[in-house]
């Protein structure tokens, strides 16, 4: 007897929505094993990791706070992924958005009122992210250079660029020589949505972007054409869909969203420019996009899950003395299990008699 994969005539809708759940459960099982291996009581570990962080209002606000950039970036990336445009450089685009938006805040923070400054910062951030994403788009459309590798290389470049800025031109003269910029003024900081928490307006922005993107993909002809381009390059050419436009749109959507998220971090929980503006949101968002099935509802839920993994990692470090890198481990594991569980969407396992 052996197991054979038989193609389904139609993709299974049940599998599409249960695969992420199966993957989450499997990841939790792996967590069980990891906690045991480190000599921690699994139930206590689960509590510390998944329950304690969101046990109060402040915790829930933190959950939503971390989910905002994830949701935002994943939405932009999903537009590209659906079109087979692989923007892997969101982390770098986030950094550039933080730089452009943050520089605006530092330069005009005293002169402009918040009502003008904050929108300008967001626009600058989106533009910064788009510029950084435009480089791989240009290289792909003009030189056929693989956008995965170019966008990824630019992450390293962006990080080094930011490092140079906060060590040099943007360094706070009153900062005791630490690599950091001046703190942003009050009118360059995002308004808080929930008093006594850090949850700020970027959450509302993220929700709005998710809604707009969904409408665009589902109801607009260009969104449709992006989907066609991702499913079948031949059919896209046949329908007269410009592959260049597809690549530009796919990359810029991700770049703009990542740039916005960068401003959200700079003008939100961080409040200045530091050598690291994100604990890897740009990469985590890739996982959120996949686990969320490139669908707005799925992305929203997946970003909550991913946010919980971040909070859990921090909590585990404090309460369980586990390295905070456990977050990265769980994130990678989750994606693996999702990709594995995905097979059930298009294939059905069947037992057949071996040939004798």
């Amino acid at each position: 007897m052996r197991v054979v994969l038989e193609a389904r005539p139609r993709p299974s809708h049940v599998a599409i929505w249960t695969a992420p759940l199966v993957a989450t459960l499997a990841t939790l099982c792996v967590g069980f094993v990891v906690f045991e291996a480190f000599g921690k009581n699994p139930l206590a570990a689960f509590d510390a990791f998944f329950v304690a962080p969101i046990a109060n209002l402040y915790g829930i606000a933190e959950l939503l706070l971390k989910a905002s950039p994830l949701m935002l970036i994943a939405t932009g990336l999903a537009i590209g992924y659906r079109a087979n445009v692989w923007n892997i450089g969101a982390e770098g685009q986030l950094t550039l958005g933080a730089i452009t938006g943050g520089t605006l805040a530092l330069v005009f923070g005293d002169a402009w009122p918040a009502a003008a400054l904050l929108p300008a910062m967001f626009i600058a951030g989106a533009v910064g992210g788009m510029l950084w994403a435009a480089i791989p788009a240009f290289l792909r459309t003009r030189f056929n250079a693989n956008e995965i590798l170019t966008s990824l290389m630019l992450v390293y470049v962006a990080t080094l660029f930011l490092s140079w800025l906060v060590h040099g031109p943007l360094r706070d003269p009153q900062g005791y020589n630490f690599p950091q910029s001046k703190l942003f003024g009050d009118n360059a900081m995002l308004p808080i949505l929930l008093p006594q928490t850090r949850l700020n307006a970027s959450f509302a922005l993220a929700l709005a972007i998710v809604g707009v993107a969904w409408l665009f993909v589902r109801r607009h002809i260009v969104g449709f054409e992006m989907r066609v381009a991702g499913l079948s390059a031949g059919a896209a050419t046949y329908a007269g869909i410009s592959w260049r436009r597809t690549i530009w749109l796919g990359m810029l959507a991700g770049g703009a969203c990542a740039g916005l998220a960068g401003v959200g971090e700079a003008a939100g929980p961080i409040g200045q420019l530091l050598p690291s503006m994100s604990p890897g949101y740009g990469f985590a968002a890739i996982i959120v996009a996949f686990v969320g099935r490139l669908h707005p509802l799925g992305i929203a839920l997946a970003s909550l899950l991913m946010s919980l993994l971040y909070l859990g990692g921090e909590s585990a470090q404090v309460n369980l003395a586990l390295p905070s890198a456990v977050t990265g481990l769980f994130q990678g594991t989750l994606l693996f299990f999702l990709l594995a569980a995905d097979v059930l969407v298009n294939y059905r396992p069947r037992m057949v008699a071996s040939a004798s």
Binding site: F143, S163, G168, I287
Partner: protein
């Protein structure tokens, strides 16, 4: 002349992790599979080899375990992509992210551990010869290994029947299946080899090049190795050329910093990454050459029947 020889030695050493990782990935891609998880496998190889070397004081054992770790990790990718028919790009990215996370997680306690490592050769009499001594006899043993690997890969791909079969599988898995070859099994083997090479590359970094463990110590070399395979038009000798070119760029950056050049260190550090981008753009431009040299089925899903 002495300085020249010194530069050659340093360049070869700097390029060796790229040689190892890129040659492995070249074989994988020749079979039609795109494994973007090289960075993750390298890091896991690095930490595994470091831990074993630190605990057993046997650095060569560490190297072997590093290669093994890379190979094992590659099989996770292989199962998901080859047997479960998942998207190769997404799974490769998952492998990298997983490897980065895993290596950071288990490497935490080893951050400031010091080990002896594998030192460059110092053969009495030979290594001290002027010029030739330095040029030929004073490389790190793993550098010689990497050159040996190049010879083996070159011979295997172009002079053996198995290598011909592998290339045929990468060209057209449907035809290879119709003629009767076990496409999936061959690809599993190729991915395993690529994983072992990536693990070996990571082990070289952690146990020989800079004996230490630092989170993310590969600094993107896995991704550069992927770009190198494209730059090399999937030809092993060009991988060597490219790897050593990159080695020299990395070296130039260090030398410039040491010499106190007036450019900020961060901007100098950008050099290898910018160079990768430029090289990719130049090479990819020639679509015809890519079409003729890239394995035709690269990255495409294969469904038997």
């Amino acid at each position: 002349m002495e300085t020249f020889a010194q530069i050659v030695v340093l360049t070869l050493a700097a390029g060796t992790p790229l040689v190892l990782a890129a040659l492995g990935e070249l074989v994988v891609e020749k079979s039609g599979v795109l494994n973007l998880g090289v960075e993750g496998m390298m890091l896991v190889g690095a930490i595994a080899s470091f831990i074993v070397a630190a605990k057993t004081n046997a650095p060569w054992l560490g190297v072997a375990v590093g290669a093994l770790a890379g190979a094992l990790l590659s099989q996770i990718f292989a199962v998901i992509v080859l047997s479960l028919r998942a998207n190769q790009v997404a799974t490769g990215l998952a492998l990298s992210l997983f490897g980065i996370g895993l290596s950071a997680f288990i490497g935490r306690p080893f951050m400031s551990v010091v080990i002896e490592g594998i030192k460059p050769l110092a053969i009495p009499g030979l290594s001290t010869l002027p010029v030739a001594g330095k040029l030929v006899f004073s490389h790190n043993p793993l550098v010689y290994l990497s050159i040996g690997l190049f010879l083996v890969v070159q011979w295997f791909l172009y002079k053996t029947r198995s290598g011909l079969v592998l290339r045929a599988v990468g060209e057209s898995p449907q035809s290879a299946n119709a003629v009767g070859y076990p496409v999936i099994a061959i690809r599993y083997a190729a991915v395993l080899f690529g994983g072992a090479c990536a693990g070996l590359a990571g082990a070289f970094l952690a146990v020989a090049y800079t004996p230490s463990w630092v989170e993310g110590m590969t600094a993107g070399r896995g991704w550069i190795a992927l770009a190198l395979v494209v730059f090399a038009s999937w030809k092993p000798w060009r991988v060597m050329v490219g790897a050593y070119l990159f080695g020299s760029v990395t070296l130039a950056q260090f030398q410039a910093q040491a010499a106190g050049v007036a450019v900020p260190s961060q901007l100098l550090a950008m050099l290898p990454y910018v160079a990768t981008i430029v090289v990719l753009a130049i090479i990819s431009r020639d679509a015809t050459m890519i079409r003729l040299n890239a394995p035709a089925s690269l990255g495409k899903p294969y469904h038997p029947e």
